[in-house]
């Protein structure tokens, strides 16, 4: 087992990895940017070293700096988390060349699955179904129009190097295509440094269902069941759950086998996720493979009882996995909500600022993976996700009820969050009955964006009492000529010292 690991990330995932390392008795090294000095991952690691600078490019994306710190301070392995360098083949290769173990797949697997077009043709070759569309990056607007005509509107434009919804556009008719293509490739260029865009058929009312897999260096590949991540805004997941309400044992086996097939096709090692789209007719299509730990991995942990980060570390150490029976048996149900610093009413724009008050939720069945503390600043430099709440229940209903309770208990002030919006989704009849699709938020827009006020008189009174209190305090201060009263204890202390 490793003695010391460097965590090349920040926020909740860095802290989450640190915790698993501590459970295994492994020392941890955190790295941090200038503005993250007060972030929890820095406080909870055994050692912490500054990266110098603020932007992602000069800090968490600077692989050379990170590798140098790892070597200088005796780390044997690097855990990349998700985002930043997690799917950067060059970094994985550099780390290996520097004598470090990269906790993840080989650089070759990352490269192969990182190019969506290469991944698609590989999947087709191995009999894994894919969504109709062109396999290669578009060269011109004319080509895009012709291809869209061939597969039929609506179509989806996607960044070849992309992920997380960046550089993605839905196009309903030929008139929209040219401007969508331009803005998608611009977004792709700035997010990934690669402006290539490809096109595919847009599936109507699809569900996003993904399979967690583990692969060890002894040739074992297992799947740990699925996660349904159909609730998305701006093509980014916000609520995930395991298991999915639509999979029966037969379809789960079929998709699980396809996931294993996909992992074997790219010689996969360590934890990975195969994302599928499932249409109305229960046809599934390979979407992409994420060659890293997923944001939503905790729901799998809660229903399988595994610690996926520990599994990753064991696999990276060369141990064999012994979980061949997992994949069919789940304990109850788990739901995850991503808490974002964002303004829901204003098209989900990020809401930066300082967290002036924070009291997270807990209680039966609740886990929180948070990356912030009271007093922390949510900056514009990094992802606006600040925390993940995960609820477990013996069945879906209990898990969802616990999640609603926890979200209502959660108190965070200073920035806007999507908590009220998450509650409205979880309470929506269509969510409760499990009628999910990736267009859920658009479909139920009119109800989800309505802001009900449950007890207006009480809320009115709260505002009034705060208002009156504030006025009284001002007048109190002016009475005393702005002098603050001196504590009797202080005066006693001074008297003692002057004796």
């Amino acid at each position: 087992m490793f003695k010391k690991i460097l965590i090349a990330n920040r926020g909740e995932i860095a802290l989450r990895i640190i915790r698993s390392c501590k459970d295994l008795g492994i020392k941890t090294i955190a790295v941090y940017s200038d503005i993250d000095r007060s972030s929890p991952h820095v406080q909870f690691a055994d050692e912490a070293y500054p990266l110098g600078g603020t932007t992602s490019a000069e800090t968490y994306l600077d692989g050379n700096k990170i590798i140098r710190i790892a070597k200088d301070h005796g780390a044997e392995a690097v855990h990349p988390g998700y985002g930043f360098l997690a799917e950067n083949a060059a970094f994985a290769r550099d780390a290996q060349n520097a004598g470090l173990v990269f906790i993840g797949p080989s650089p070759e697997s990352i490269e192969l699955m990182g190019s969506k077009t290469a991944a698609r043709s590989l999947m087709e070759k191995h009999g894994v179904p894919t969504i109709p569309g062109s396999k290669k990056a578009l060269q011109s607007e004319e080509e895009a129009l012709a291809e869209a005509q061939r597969i039929g509107y609506p179509v989806l434009l996607k960044a070849s190097a992309g992920g997380g919804g960046k550089g993605m556009r839905l196009v309903e008719n030929p008139g929209e295509l040219p401007s969508a293509l331009q803005s998608a490739s611009r977004e792709a260029q700035s997010a990934f440094g690669d402006s290539s865009i490809y096109i595919e058929k847009y599936l109507e009312q699809p569900r996003h269902i993904e399979f967690q897999i583990l692969a060890d260096s002894h040739g074992n590949v297992v799947y740990l069941g699925e996660r349904e991540c159909s609730i998305q805004r701006r093509h980014q997941k916000i609520i995930e759950e395991a298991p999915s309400v639509v999979l029966d044992s037969e379809l789960r086996k079929k998709m699980g086998r396809a996931a294993i097939q996909a992992a074997k096709a790219c010689n996969y090692l360590n934890a990975g996720t195969i994302e599928f789209m499932l249409d109305k007719h229960r046809n599934f299509y390979f979407l992409e493979m994420n060659t890293r730990l997923q944001v939503e991995h905790p729901v799998t942990e809660l229903v399988t009882g595994l610690d996926l980060v520990q599994e990753q570390i064991r696999i990276a150490c060369g141990e064999a996995i012994s979980l061949s029976s997992v994949g069919e048996r789940f304990w109850g149900h788990a739901v995850e909500c991503r808490i974002y610093a964002e303004d829901v009413e204003n098209n989900f724009t990020p809401s930066p600022g300082k967290i002036t008050y924070l009291k997270p939720a807990d209680g039966p069945g609740i886990r929180e993976d948070s990356g912030v503390m009271q007093g922390n600043e949510i900056s514009l430099y990094y992802d606006p996700m600040i925390s993940k709440l995960i609820a477990w229940g013996k069945d879906r209903e209990q898990a969802v009820r616990r999640m609603i309770r926890a979200l209502k208990e959660y108190q965070l002030s200073g920035i806007k969050t999507n908590i009220p919006f998450l509650i409205r989704i979880l309470q929506h009849p269509a969510f409760i009955s499990g009628e999910l699709s990736t267009t859920f938020i658009d479909e139920h827009r009119s109800e989800l964006f309505k802001q009900p006020v449950t007890s207006p008189e009480a809320i009115g009174l709260m505002a009034l009492l705060k208002h009156i209190n504030r006025q009284r305090r001002i007048s109190y201060r002016s009475d005393k000529n702005h002098k603050t009263p001196t504590s009797q204890w202080k005066m006693l202390g001074r008297m003692k010292h002057s004796r």
């Binding site: 977004e187 449950t454 009174l461 505002a463």
Partner: protein, 169 residues
């Protein structure tokens, strides 16, 4: 003194007595309340036996109340300021010029309009990139572009003026 609390588009009137701290609602019913500050802007209200934990912060001259997973904005006026406002409003004209400000700090990636352009409602004005996402800033109404204060590639702060528009008609 009478206070009018506005929540969304509804108004709630309260009568507060400075001397005995008693409050009655708009139906002149006295409210049985107990209000305790728990610290850091966090309060406990027990109203007619119903217990609430809430967080109240000041925001744009009003208040933002967070209770039971709801976030509600409220503004308060007392009798005097209400009378004054009515007077001011009666004499003020709606401004025909509007300055579009940056809703969030970010990078101006593209400007779609030029001074003098006549625009329809929801026409794209410029693209603002923040947290790796591109946000389109759109025209709030039918209008003409008067001035553009920023250049493509420029970093802007929150509330920094971007474009000045003149309402059509």
């Amino acid at each position: 003194m009478k206070y009018i609390v506005k929540i969304q588009d509804r108004k709630y009137t309260f009568d507060y007595s400075e001397n005995d701290k008693k409050i009655s609602n708009q139906n002149n019913e006295p409210l049985d309340y107990d209000w305790v500050e728990l610290g850091n802007g966090c309060f406990s209200l027990i109203l007619n036996g119903n217990s609430y934990i809430c967080h109240v912060s000041e925001q744009n001259g009003g208040y933002q109340i967070m209770v039971d997973g709801e976030v509600v904005s409220a503004t308060i006026e007392d009798e005097q300021s209400l009378t004054l406002n009515k007077f001011v409003k009666a004499h003020a004209k709606e401004p025909s010029e509007q300055v579009i400000k940056a809703p969030i700090p970010g990078l101006v990636t593209r400007i779609f309009v030029q001074a003098g352009d006549k625009l329809k409602k929801d026409a794209s004005l410029l693209a603002l990139e923040a947290m790796k996402m591109e946000n389109l800033i759109k025209a709030p109404c039918e209008c003409t572009v008067e001035k553009i204060f920023v250049k493509s590639g420029q970093t802007v702060q929150q509330n920094q003026p971007l474009i000045q528009l003149k309402k059509s008609g």
